[in-house]
């Protein structure tokens, strides 16, 4: 795949799938304020996805709705972290924390992309992501320093989630071209920044960040290999859309 398309699909699919997952917290949050917060962040992510699919459309790909609502799992390039079910709040919060730290740094870097339409989108998106990270940090610091119960849950969630989080940085064959052409700084550089960024926050809690070198990253997502959870998510997402493909809803 051409490096620009390769990069855009990964970015857009991550946003769509995690936005979809975060929206599942409606009515289920531990407090109403968190229902509302997760919904806000989900709406932002859907908005980001739409902007990125629109860039793809401008490059000749199908309409955003078609791309989002009619592909099957093997055609998706999201990392597996985004597609896991919401589980309990500890997992969803840790996923949000680990993912959005990477996302903020990613879009800050993309603001300087050599592909100007992407750089423009990134400059808007990074402003919103700042608040997502602020939200994640606040909760991780709070719950990661509170009761023994909360600290235990958060630590377990962190350890479960980290291998998937490392899958965020899985590269594709296009990686050398992406870096060479100045589209993006590359996944390795991003991961280094991310490790420093999450480490700084976790150091202010009772949580322990395991040595990441000892973990095996869960990859595959960037190459269309997904968990058993993605296809059912996509089927659900397209349930109405597919009822009448000729319809304007």
């Amino acid at each position: 795949m051409n490096p620009t398309l390769d990069l855009l699909y990964r970015l857009a699919d991550d946003q769509l799938i995690l936005g979809h997952r975060n929206s599942e917290w409606n009515g289920l949050g531990p407090i109403l304020e968190e229902d509302i917060a997760f919904s806000s962040m989900a709406q932002d992510k859907l908005g980001h996805a739409l902007q990125l699919y629109t860039l793809l459309h401008e490059l000749g790909e199908a309409e955003p709705d078609t791309v989002a609502f009619t592909r099957n799992a093997p055609q998706f390039h999201c990392c597996q972290l985004t597609e896991l079910p919401i589980g309990e709040y500890d997992f969803s919060l840790i996923r949000h924390f680990l993912f959005d730290h990477a996302e903020l740094l990613r879009f800050e870097a993309l603001a300087g992309s050599s592909y100007e339409p992407l750089a423009q989108v990134a400059r808007k998106v990074k402003g919103e992501l700042k608040y997502h990270v602020l939200h994640a940090n606040t909760w991780v610091k709070r719950l990661g320093s509170a009761t023994e119960e909360a600290i235990g849950r958060m630590q377990a969630a962190l350890e479960f989630t980290l291998p998937y989080a490392l899958g965020i940085f899985e590269t594709t064959d296009a990686e050398p071209d992406i870096i060479r052409s100045g589209l993006f700084i590359g996944e390795a550089e991003l991961q280094a920044r991310w490790e420093a960024s999450i480490g700084k926050v976790l150091a202010q809690t009772a949580l322990t960040l395991p040595d990441l070198r000892t973990l095996t990253p869960v990859g595959g997502g960037r190459r269309g290999q997904h968990t058993e959870y993605l296809q059912p998510l996509l089927d659900e997402m397209a349930e109405v859309f597919r009822l009448d493909p000729t319809a304007d809803w």
Binding site: G27, P30, A146, L233
Partner: protein, 329 residues
């Protein structure tokens, strides 16, 4: 959404206790309300006023969070980016309304925790319409348009009531409900004027929802007793029948205009401007509001699961920074 789920069911001895109130304070209180002044949390108020308002605002708050569930299940299935994002925003607003209303109710002395616990224990009610299923996307659209429309009729009236915090919450809520109405109407119009599959789905959803919509404002005033004192105190601002008439007058023509029909052969506007309709099945309404509807158990179970799964978070918040294993700086 919603209001007036069951303000009609004030206890038969609604005036009980009034004779124990200080007559001078009571007369001043009633005079203030008659002058159009707002009652604020720290002002003197009769026990019955506090109790009825708490119940009414609490029920309204419950209706918002329970009401977010049937539409919420369609967020993940909404067709296309535009609808998906709007459905998310709409449902999020409803949860925000609950948050506002619980705060308003808390000013009367009952905590949010107590209210939510009464909800999952079946001690307090919420708008009965949410005990019915939403099997298709069109059902969700019917709620967005017509249930929210009903809610607006109710809330615009209640916003002129006497309790300051409730009125101010309602002013903010009504502004957002106006957007819900636009969104719901747009979605219904798209389907009602769309492909045959869409038109059929929408007509079926409307047929399914119409009986519940007709009960939305509560039983006929002929059947309600003791609304008089609540009207005098501006707790209840319009009768159930007046709200229903206003709703029919505003929305039936709009429904017919887009080519949809309503499953009531007796529905018509008389020459005197009054809408006639088949009397809803109030026995069924009573049965459902008392717990025996198609979705009561499911709605409460979802809410209960949310409360239970989130309990550890609330425990942690109540014990802020219980122990720092490491210093913060």
């Amino acid at each position: 959404m919603y209001g007036s789920a069951s303000t009609h069911d004030i206890p038969a001895k609604a005036t009980t206790g009034l004779e124990n109130e200080d007559p001078i304070l009571l007369a001043e209180f009633e005079a203030r309300i008659a002058r159009g002044e707002k009652i604020e949390p720290t002002d003197w108020m009769p026990q019955l006023y506090r109790k009825q308002l708490t119940r009414m605002i609490e029920q309204h708050a419950h209706s918002e969070i329970i009401g977010s569930l049937p539409e919420g299940t369609w967020i993940t299935r909404a067709p296309g980016f535009r609808r998906k994002m709007a459905q998310m925003a709409k449902v999020q607003d409803e949860v925000g309304h609950a948050q506002l209303l619980y705060s308003a109710a808390e000013t009367l002395g009952k905590t949010r925790e107590q209210m939510l616990s009464d909800l999952v224990n079946g001690k307090s009610k919420y708008s009965n319409v949410f005990n019915y299923p939403t099997p298709t996307w069109a059902d969700s659209n019917v709620i967005s348009w017509l249930i929210d429309a009903g809610a607006i009729v109710n809330q615009m009236a209640n916003a002129k009531g006497s309790y300051g915090p409730y009125c101010r919450a309602l002013d903010r809520i009504c502004a957002e409900e106006a957007f819900h109405l636009k969104y719901g109407h747009d979605a219904v119009v798209h389907m009602a004027t769309g492909t045959p599959v869409q038109r059929k789905m929408m007509q079926e959803a409307l047929n399914r929802w119409w009986p519940a919509i007709m009960t939305f404002f509560g039983p006929s005033d002929k059947m309600s007793v003791h609304t008089e004192i609540l009207m005098r105190w501006k707790v209840k601002m319009a009768t159930n029948d007046a709200c229903r008439q206003q709703f029919l007058d505003m929305y039936v023509p709009k429904i017919w205009e887009i080519g949809l029909t309503l499953p009531d052969a007796n529905l018509r506007k008389n020459e005197d401007g009054v809408w006639e309709f088949t009397e809803p099945d109030w026995e069924d309404f009573k049965r459902v509001i008392n717990g025996d509807g198609p979705c009561n158990a499911e709605r409460i179970a979802v809410r209960r699961a949310a409360e239970e799964n989130g309990a550890w978070v609330r425990r942690a918040l109540l014990q802020p920074q219980a122990r720092y294993v490491r210093p913060l700086a």
